[in-house]
């Protein structure tokens, strides 16, 4: 701060002076942001680019699963079953001559399942139960489970149609009719994109602020700042406010991209989303600030930011791996990952609407994490100054 400004502030009431000082700090931070445009890139380009790539690239919907069909002895029965597999959108079948060829295709990862109809398929259908042998590549357990589910569906439909053709009674005792709420087409993108926003905002928060305090310490400009009449809280606020505004812009862009480009339904209210996003951004920025204040060294701050922000938010937030499937100890640990609360709220806000029983506890948790991270940054920076 130049001498001239300080003189001007000196004559004004203290409270007002605080506001002036803060404005000066914010202006300084904005100038630094404009000079090294990487912050602007982080806030505006990064969310849209990442959401674009991941919205297309991250999907759990398996279609066109390559499968090998082995028919030992072709007949009308085997032909109708093979045709049913060809009709399914879930499979891309290829017919191979024998099991040896099928095994090789599986080992070379050209197919991920084998369907084999033995030579006595037709005869055993008429006099008993004919087995249809299925081998799936179980390495990717989730996709394997989906494939067997789809094969089951194809088989069931074929069975009913076949029984009807042959003049029999096709009825089974009990049928499940499923109604999937919030995502009737079971499109994985609709649940992954809201979660991706949470991951991306976690990264952005950490990236924006993890370096800023450490940089001042490393370059010695912190001492210069301390020599002026600014207070510690004002320095922190001067860092927080500009990056908060940038982060809010990035969040708004992400939500717009999700709705307009990926057509994810948004069933909640904008106000609830805004309040919760604010709390989460403050948490993410606060985490970055805390790292920065504690390490006082850009190298270590950068390493810490990579370690604590990305992978935990990716794996422990419920974004892709359902928290309900984790062991109790790990479920407990996820409570320390702020992204967890944000993911729960985003998935609900986008797909279900303003559900109070989700919004209130998770929102309260985010309020707590924001308070803790910002409070700790404040305490730690005061200590390191004294």
């Amino acid at each position: 701060m130049s001498d001239r400004t300080r003189d001007r502030i000196g004559g004004i009431r203290p409270l007002f002076a605080g506001g002036m000082r803060l404005r000066g700090l914010i202006r300084k931070e904005f100038k630094q942001i404009v000079r090294d445009p990487s912050s602007l890139a982080i806030a505006f380009a990064l969310p849209v680019v990442l959401l674009f790539i991941f919205g297309y690239g991250v999907s759990l919907d398996a279609e066109h699963i390559p499968i090998a069909i082995v028919v030992d002895e072709p007949s009308a029965d085997t032909a109708s079953f093979t045709a049913a597999l060809y009709r399914s959108i879930y499979f891309d079948p290829i017919v191979v001559p024998d099991m040896i060829a099928a095994d090789r295709a599986m080992l070379e990862r050209r197919v991920s399942a084998i369907v084999r109809l033995r030579s006595d398929f037709g005869r055993r259908r008429r006099f008993g139960i004919a087995p249809i042998q299925i081998v799936v590549n179980g390495v990717d357990a989730n996709t394997a489970r989906l494939s067997t589910g789809y094969l089951d569906g194809v088989w069931l439909k074929w069975r009913v149609a076949k029984a009807r053709d042959e003049g029999g009674n096709p009825s089974v005792p009990v049928l499940i009719s499923d109604r999937v709420w919030f995502n009737s087409e079971l499109e994985s993108r609709d649940f992954l994109v809201p979660g991706l926003i949470a991951i991306i905002m976690t990264l952005i928060g950490a990236l924006l602020t993890a370096m800023v305090m450490a940089r001042e310490w490393e370059r010695g400009t912190m001492e210069a700042l301390l020599a002026t009449p600014v207070k510690v809280g004002e320095i922190l606020l001067g860092k927080l406010i500009p990056y908060f505004l940038l982060g809010t812009g990035g969040m708004a862009l992400s939500v717009t991209t999700a709705i307009w480009l990926f057509h994810v339904p948004f069933r909640g209210s904008v106000i609830a989303l805004f309040v919760v996003s604010t709390l989460f951004l403050l948490t993410a920025l606060g985490m970055g600030l805390l790292i920065s204040v504690v390490t006082k060294n850009q190298f270590v701050a950068g390493q810490t930011a990579i370690i604590v922000s990305y992978l935990p938010a990716y794996i422990l937030s419920g974004f892709i791996f359902d928290i309900r499937g984790m062991p109790a100890v790990i479920q407990f640990l996820t409570h320390f990952i702020p992204a967890r609360y944000f993911v729960a709220i985003l998935q609900t806000e986008f797909l279900a609407g303003d559900v109070r029983s989700i919004l209130i506890p998770n929102g309260a948790a985010l309020f707590a994490t924001a308070t803790i991270f910002l409070g700790l940054s404040r305490i730690k920076s005061r200590k390191s100054l004294e």
Binding site: D36, V139, R145, G168, V172, S177, G302, T348
Partner: protein, 369 residues
């Protein structure tokens, strides 16, 4: 020449390991994350909470629902008495699934018709919903097979005999833990390399190295060897934990595994140094590290298969070294894949490593500011 490279390598190790905070950031978190993530990252679901809305209460509906109550995949937490109670239970995520048996269920079965059970499922996580519905239809199918034939329903004339190769019980953990080996190896290598040149630039020490009698290739090796060695040691430790701690079967040969690991480390170190030499400030280095790390992991096939992507994006993933390494890891661990089967995964990583290292070395000299 090798003496000078050795001197640079020692210096680099000192810089990385002398600062106790930097040392602990590189060593401790990967192992903690290995433990936590290996337990956390799973698509398997047990104890799915469900509620029953039984308007029939006949013996048959009890028999069918008993299949759910006795299943280890399901856990009954609530019961519903009218339609209005369903939404609050599902909205608040208290249950994932509501099984609704209508009032005509027993009557339909007694008349030999098909009775319907409605399954209302929370689709906010579509994968979880799909898994729950899969288990549910399995239980209903078993009920049909046991209950139907003796009561006049036609039996099935065929049946599916499903076996899973390589992972007979379809445990997600077998799929995920080898993936985590790749994930953490990449993260550690990035931590060591991505900020290192940028830091020296910012502190001015890189100028000193440049004016010293080092050739660019020596500077490059001095920067690359520490990242490579630290990555190699940590990933070996992680592989040990995966095999002996998590009991993931390691069927293939160590030679194949380590060929893949070495090539992957070369490519990861190459990318890290490229980012580092492009960055003028550490802030930019960190940005670059994230810009590489995040897509490299999300689009590697670690959690979501590459074949699910649109084809233009599948083609774009050829520049991602992680995708090859994951195939190698899972192939060697679970399938016992041979060197020849994996040959197509080896050379792309070598190409990525060669290109990035050459460009990085060239940038060391080219960007002297």
């Amino acid at each position: 020449m090798w003496l000078r490279v050795l001197a640079l390598t020692i210096k680099e190790f000192l810089v990385l390991l002398k600062d106790p905070r930097s040392r602990s950031v590189i060593i401790v978190p990967p192992f903690v994350q290995l433990l936590v993530f290996s337990f956390a990252a799973s698509y398997d679901l047990d104890d799915i909470p469900f509620a029953v809305y039984d308007e029939d209460s006949g013996a048959q509906s009890h028999e069918l629902l008993a299949g759910f109550r006795n299943s280890r995949h399901f856990h009954e937490t609530d019961s519903v008495a009218n339609d209005g109670e369903i939404a609050p239970l599902i909205d608040s995520k208290k249950v994932l699934l509501v099984l609704h048996v209508g009032p005509t269920f027993s009557r339909d079965l007694a008349a030999g018709r098909t009775a319907t059970m409605q399954a209302i499922v929370d689709g906010r996580n579509s994968n979880t919903a799909m898994i729950a519905l899969g288990y549910a239809s399995g239980i209903v199918e078993r009920f049909n097979a046991q209950w139907g034939p003796s009561r006049g329903y036609p039996g099935a004339s065929s049946r599916l005999e499903t076996r899973a190769w390589f992972n007979p019980n379809l445990q997600s953990r077998w799929f995920i833990v080898p993936g985590i080996v790749g994930l953490l190896t990449l993260v550690v290598t990035m931590l060591v390399t991505a900020l290192s040149v940028a830091r020296e630039r910012e502190q001015g020490t890189f100028d000193q190295i440049l004016v010293a009698p080092f050739r660019p290739v020596e500077i490059l090796l001095g920067k690359a060897i520490p990242g490579f060695l630290i990555g190699l040691m940590e990933s070996s430790g992680i592989i040990l934990v995966a095999v002996f701690g998590f009991r993931i079967p390691l069927l293939g040969s160590l030679l194949t595994l380590y060929t893949g690991l070495v090539l992957f480390l070369v490519s990861a170190v190459g990318v890290g140094l490229l980012i580092s030499s492009l960055a003028v400030t550490q802030q930019q280095g960190l940005l670059g590290a994230f810009m590489f790390l995040v897509p490299a992991i999300l689009l590697s096939g670690f959690a979501t298969p590459i074949v699910n992507m649109p084809s233009w994006m599948q083609k774009a993933t050829v520049i991602n070294p992680m995708r090859y390494f994951l195939v190698i890891l899972r192939g060697v661990f679970l399938e016992g894949a041979s060197f020849n089967v994996l040959a197509d995964q080896f050379w792309p990583m070598a190409v990525i490593g060669a290109i990035t290292l050459i460009v990085a070395a060239w940038l060391f000299r080219g960007r002297l500011y």
